[in-house]
Symmetry: C2
Subunit: 297 residues, 2 copies
């Protein structure tokens, strides 16, 4: 009998989502950073997303509780940035052993609440459930949000010839940035207001996994200029491409817009780098080493 580790994450997800039926009002189901459904206000769509953290996998057991909470919320919010949207309401699910200190859970909640407030969204409900003593804590954050129809950016509408950009610097996130990163909501809002971004996603599993996903969703290949990949200080090119947990934006845009983008970006976000790292092409992209597969053996 095949096990999950035999398949790998993308093949598993493809197999599972093929079992799901669509329903009324669903504009885009699984496969992008958020699901897109018919929205509330005129000219808007509703965005839905769930994400989770597992102790020992997404954070070390001795990490500060408030930082873990912050990360749990910020990861979900980052997916709203990736769609050119904004989060609105959050639901928490926390499964943890009964011998956990109350103070730890309170710290977790404080970190989650603070991060939600910072982006003007609210935690409106939650569920706590017990696990057997010794089992790792599981924290899931689901959220609703919205995007203007004119700013909604899927992974799938990249075009051949588009230039590929990333925000910030990549690699070495496990040294600490994976707990303290900024979800690029403000930047994505500005970007999708001012420019026709064809395709966008956030980099969670590393450029090596995520760039091929964006290209494939758009029916394209890609060219990556490895030397241009913006690196965190002290990190190799291979690490910048393969490490993951960067939560920076990766997006595709017509070359005609690129010059204006770079000039206006530099004025608007003078402290955040924007780098062209390659393009979408006709041909299949190269195989990239690294990236994070949740179920790899």
């Amino acid at each position: 009998m095949p096990r999950i580790s035999d398949l790998g994450e993308d093949a598993l997800v493809a197999r599972l989502t093929s079992l799901l039926s669509s329903g009324p009002g669903v504009l885009a189901g699984p496969g992008d950073d958020c699901a897109v459904v018919e929205g509330s206000a005129r000219g808007e769509v509703e965005l839905l997303k769930t994400d989770c953290l597992v102790e020992g996998i997404h954070y070390r057991p001795n990490a500060m509780a408030s930082k873990v909470g912050r990360k749990a919320v910020a990861r979900t919010l980052s997916d709203f940035a990736a769609m050119g949207g904004w989060p609105r309401h959050l639901l928490l699910t926390i499964a943890l052993p009964p011998d956990r200190e109350v103070r730890w859970v309170e710290g977790l909640y404080r970190g989650m609440n603070k991060c939600a407030q910072q982006y003007e969204c609210a935690i409106v409900g939650g569920e706590t459930s017990s696990l057997p003593v010794g089992a790792p804590v599981v924290i899931s954050v689901a959220a609703t949000g919205f995007a203007k129809r004119t700013q909604l950016t899927m992974r799938s509408a990249g075009q051949r010839g588009d230039l590929l950009f990333v925000t910030g610097r990549l690699g070495g996130s496990l040294k600490g940035r994976h707990l303290t990163f900024t979800p690029r909501l403000v930047e994505a809002r500005w970007l999708t207001e001012k420019f026709r971004v064809h395709a966008m996603m956030d980099l969670s599993d590393g450029l090596a996994m995520d760039l091929p996903r964006l290209a494939a969703a758009s029916g394209c290949g890609f060219r990556l200029d490895r030397e241009s990949v913006p690196r965190t200080r002290g990190v190799t090119v291979g690490q910048a491409i393969g490490d993951g947990e960067d939560y920076e934006l990766l997006f595709a845009l017509s070359p005609r817009s690129a010059k204006r983008l770079q000039a206006e970006w530099a004025r608007q976000f003078s402290r955040l780098r924007l780098t062209c790292i390659g393009s979408l092409t006709d041909c299949e992209g190269p195989l990239l080493d690294g990236g994070w597969d949740h179920f790899a053996s």
Copy 2:
């Protein structure tokens, strides 16, 4: 340092939710079966809910995967019934060890999808994450839905003198019904369309835990006529009150409406019992034995 097991579930939840800030558009945050936020269509509110299952706690490891999936979805749907609402879109989070058989996860998804379809809602996204080998599977289902403002039923608007009703029969759910119960969506819709139900909830942790919660949320005490509690065949009164996982509706309604309710219910749902089990009062209710506290030592 106090641990979660020292507090118990309700005290923990009260402590945690006091740490959360409200936000724009939030009509009711944590504390009811669903959160209530400003809604999409005119005359409607949006409902939000998350719930979870843990292997070995909410189902036996050898339970059939499709039934586990069905239960995970049906539990969340039951909370929409409890508000007089209807679910719309679902998000799944599944954390599981990589040595789990693919066939098991597919069975789980099939069960979840079938249950969602049955109630005309759709699973629009999901997240799968790996756990260390040996850790129990955690399944979380978050959902959005809606209620007409005129049919929205909270726990908190029960009135002294209201009669208390339950649907179906209680107790003995662990023999199998906890996997196969019917979320009372159709019944709740009919009920809130035809009658002014003051307060309602679904019975998940047992009457012994849930009835005092509904009474307290309404600022009332309660009287329970123990002998009237409708029992599953072969179950004692104590078990019917304390077992939990019934997912029947408990609701409060003015005595003036009770007679018409009982007559019309019998015509509409001839195969589902409706029983008056007591009333909301001025005085504190009695202490009831049993019920399910997730974090009790």
